[in-house]
């Protein structure tokens, strides 16, 4: 009896690793085959339709002879606001041999910026870059539905981005815990898309079956209108397809309708400057990372804040606490009154082409002054 019990228990002990192995081995093979084949597919098929940012990178890489030494990186507020040709020719910068390129990319967020910066710096193969102007948009705790499933969001959702996003969402103490967890979990979707090359082949498939002529022609036309990466909103409006034109016209009309409200908000901002805002630890991480990347490349990072109605106190604090070394703010309606003039605006968040020209020369002046001060200090030190 005792012998039988010992034998049955030893049989059970022997069966257990076998049972575990029979589950774990196929699971391991499944995972290995999944990642290996995803990687093969990703390498075998051409990337999807080039985005504006891809095209800018390609143009920048292909123009070694032009020796760009200055770039602007950031969101649409860089894309639509900074005109490289004007910047280079600004009297304040004469003699400095500035040749700039605009890498602004609409909709880019703080979490995406390190990814974009990596590509910009990699495109400067000969290490000619000296100045990198960076506009960092505020952090957002949630991913909007409209962006959740896009290839773009997936493209930068690697493990580091996921960790930052989760830390940021979970750290929003003002929100309910369930909301924070849900917001953090949403980032898993683009993360999995990223590691599994999710939907990368969909564009290829769609291109293979849809008539491409008209769409491609319009896209080329739009790209040709860019000047060193810059394109005004007015030009976009002129060249856009029906759907995009409708969206832009709506934005413009809405601003015209709410012009009075905009002016009231500007007045309020002047009379009651916003209180001190916290600098989030994740934002510190992103800013420090960007600064370090540029420094490691042998260039100087200059952070800027744009003329919008949400002053960037976090960048101000980051500058004061030496997280970032150089910071040029343009979000104060007192010192940059002209940039808050509705006549120079396309919509509430963006300047018109005229406003962009003014903003570019203000930035050039500020940069010129800063450069000369720096040089004077250096000479004095010698």
């Amino acid at each position: 009896m005792a012998n039988r019990s010992i034998r049955s228990s030893s049989r059970r002990r022997n069966a257990l690793p076998g049972a575990v192995l029979s589950v774990l081995l196929p699971a391991g093979v499944f995972a290995a085959s999944l990642f290996a084949f995803s990687s093969i597919l990703s390498r075998s098929f051409p990337p999807g339709n080039p985005t504006i940012f891809d095209r800018k990178i390609a143009q920048f890489s292909a123009s070694d002879g032009e020796r760009y030494n200055t770039v602007f990186v950031g969101s649409s507020r860089v894309y639509r606001h900074l005109i490289p040709v004007l910047f280079d020719e600004a009297p304040a910068l004469s003699g400095l041999g500035i040749r700039s390129y605009n890498f602004g990319y609409y909709g880019s967020r703080a979490l995406e910026l390190p990814h974009l910066m990596r590509r910009v710096l990699a495109a400067d193969r000969e290490g000619k870059l000296k100045w990198v102007f960076i506009d960092v948009e505020p952090m957002a705790w949630d991913l909007e539905d409209v962006n959740l499933a896009t290839a773009r969001v997936a493209s930068y959702h690697d493990a580091t981005t996921l960790a930052r996003a989760v830390r940021y969402a979970v750290g929003r103490d003002s929100l309910a815990l369930s909301v924070r967890i849900a917001a953090a979990a949403r980032h898993l979707v683009p993360f999995f898309r990223h590691i599994l090359s999710w939907s990368e082949g969909s564009t290829w498939l769609k291109n293979a079956i849809r008539p491409s002529g008209e769409w491609r022609r319009r896209s080329e036309e739009l790209w040709r209108a860019h000047r060193r990466g810059y394109l005004s909103l007015e030009s976009s409006l002129e060249l856009a397809d029906e759907e995009e034109r409708g969206r832009l016209e709506e934005r413009k009309a809405l601003f015209e309708k709410k012009r009075g409200k905009f002016l009231r908000n500007v007045r309020r901002l002047r009379s009651e400057p916003p209180g001190e805002a916290d600098l989030d630890r994740v934002m510190v991480d992103v800013l420090a990372k960007l600064d370090r990347m540029v420094r490691d490349h042998g260039a100087t990072a200059i952070f800027i804040s744009n003329p919008i109605l949400r002053p960037r106190n976090d960048l101000k604090i980051a500058h004061e606490t030496d997280v970032i070394e150089n910071f040029f703010p343009f979000d104060d309606p007192d010192s940059c009154a002209v940039l808050f003039d509705p006549d120079y605006r396309f919509d509430e968040g963006h300047l018109s082409s005229e406003g962009a020209a003014i903003y570019t020369s203000l930035l050039a002046d500020r940069f010129g002054r800063w450069f000369h001060e720096k040089e004077t200090k250096k000479e004095a030190a010698h």
Partner: protein
């Protein structure tokens, strides 16, 4: 919540894990019912009350019929009438009220009688057509003596609300599903390999084929007058592929999801585009609806009995009703009517051949092509946004008329041929021996390849299933 969404996969992982952890059958059923209601509430919690009300009514009606003496036909009929009226009432109010009001007032206006009847501002509850048909079949089957009432309200609730089939079928029969609830399901009940392949096949059809094809189909059907005749053919062909992949993909995923939980749902599609006749098509397309239409309206109407005219009338009425079931618009009625007409012509043709003793028939390949061509024509009315567009497309499709100069190109034709080849492999069941006998490790490796293929080619935007609107 859509089967191809990440959140559904998360939801199902939790449902699956808890379901198989629970040891008691009753606890599992309660868990599944709660999950099913959560699944539906994720779309709109307010309409849960409709499902619940429908279940309550049918529970009482079913027990009422069963309690009555079989000789007391009057009382039994009264209970049945209560169930049918309540279910059709729900459908009538939520799906057809505005349609009949609009059609009625348009008709009066053409007679010169100005009539404006207020329309209801309501949205169509997802899956209402599916679950009302299911619940009606429950009471009708009890009335016919083919089914005993569910043993508990819980069983009936789960039959009506079971989430895999709740919003877009298959239209499950109570006599097939409720008996499955009596026995505690064991993990051995899961045909794991078949379910995994079926789920992935449905996912591939929906996310990689149907959703990607919409980039061509949507612009074409939005402005058909801008395109040439060849584009009409390509547009209709691609829509035929899209709707099949969308709906059969959903059915595959529903059947597989239920299978993972240990339950079996009926098949809904059997490679309908390889049908050699329209009759065969309806044996292979949306099988659960066609058998429902056969068993409930068609046979009680008289079915295939009586004079020829009477038989064809029954057929036409059933198909018109089937069309109307799909949507509250005359386009769907026309769609049903065209199918009914084809069925009548096909029967007449067969009778004629038989009567004259002609052994010859259309070659199978020609039969498949002809059936596909006709089904394509009917899809035009199903998909077109309005009457004008429908006629423009039909004219191009039938008479090669080119209303515009824009063209959908044929560059991707080789992909279509690949698709047909893959479909043929599935039709011939050439993968079955592999599924049955491949070693676990090899099967897992193949699953990995399929999942990576799907994830690579799936459309980035998750589009709702076409049949959700019905």
């Amino acid at each position: 919540m859509i089967f191809t969404e990440f959140r559904f996969l998360l939801f199902f992982a939790v449902v699956f894990a808890v379901h198989w952890t629970l040891k008691e059958n009753r606890a599992r059923k309660i868990w599944l019912l709660l999950c099913s209601y959560y699944f539906y509430a994720a779309w709109d919690w307010r309409f849960l009350s409709l499902i619940f009300a429908s279940t309550v009514v049918d529970h009482f009606a079913g027990s009422g019929i069963d309690r009555c003496d079989r000789a007391d036909e009057k009382r039994r009929k009264r209970w049945l009438l209560l169930s049918v009226l309540c279910n059709l009432g729900l459908l009538g109010v939520f799906k057809y009220f505005n349609f009949f009001v609009d059609s009625g007032s348009a008709f009066l206006n053409t007679l010169g009688i100005g009539a404006t009847v207020p329309a209801l501002r309501i949205i169509l509850p997802v899956g209402i057509s599916f679950y009302t048909f299911q619940t009606m079949s429950y009471t009708i089957d009890i009335y016919r003596g083919r089914l005993r009432p569910a043993k508990s309200f819980l069983d009936l609730g789960l039959f009506v609300g079971f989430f895999p089939q709740l919003v877009a079928g298959p239209i499950v029969r109570a006599r097939d599903f409720i008996p499955q609830l009596d026995r505690l399901r064991r993990p051995a009940d899961i045909p794991f390999r078949a379910c995994a392949l079926l789920f992935l096949s449905g996912f591939l059809k929906k996310a990689c084929i149907s959703d990607n094809i919409s980039v061509v189909v949507d612009p074409y059907f939005a402005h058909p007058q801008a395109y040439d005749a060849l584009s009409a053919w390509i547009g209709v062909l691609l829509y035929s592929v899209q709707i099949y992949c969308d709906f059969s993909g959903y059915s595959d995923m529903a059947i597989a999801t239920a299978g993972f939980l240990g339950y079996r749902l009926c098949d809904n599609f059997a490679h309908p585009y390889f049908s050699g006749s329209i009759q065969e098509f309806w044996r292979r397309w949306h099988i659960s609806l066609s058998t429902w239409l056969r068993d409930y309206p068609y046979i009680p109407l008289g079915g295939g009995r009586g004079s020829k005219l009477f038989r064809y009338r029954n057929l036409m009425l059933t198909m018109l009703l089937g069309g109307l079931w799909h949507g509250a618009a005359w386009r769907f009625v026309i769609w049903g009517g065209l199918h009914g007409l084809a069925l009548v012509v096909h029967r007449e043709w067969r009778t004629m051949l038989e009567r004259r003793g002609i052994g010859w028939s259309i070659p199978p390949a020609a039969g498949v092509a002809l059936t596909f061509y006709w089904v394509g024509l009917t899809w035009i009315f199903f998909r077109a946004t309005d009457w004008r567009s429908a006629f423009v497309i039909a004219r191009s499709y039938l008479f090669l008329h080119s209303p515009g100069v824009k063209s959908l190109d044929l560059d991707g034709l080789y992909l279509f041929l690949l698709l047909v080849a893959a479909h043929w492999i599935a039709y011939r069941r050439w993968t079955v021996p592999f599924r049955r006998s491949a070693p676990d490790v090899l099967f897992a490796a193949v699953l990995g390849v399929i999942v990576s293929f799907i994830s690579f080619f799936m459309a980035s935007d998750v589009a709702p299933f076409i049949y959700f609107q019905f």
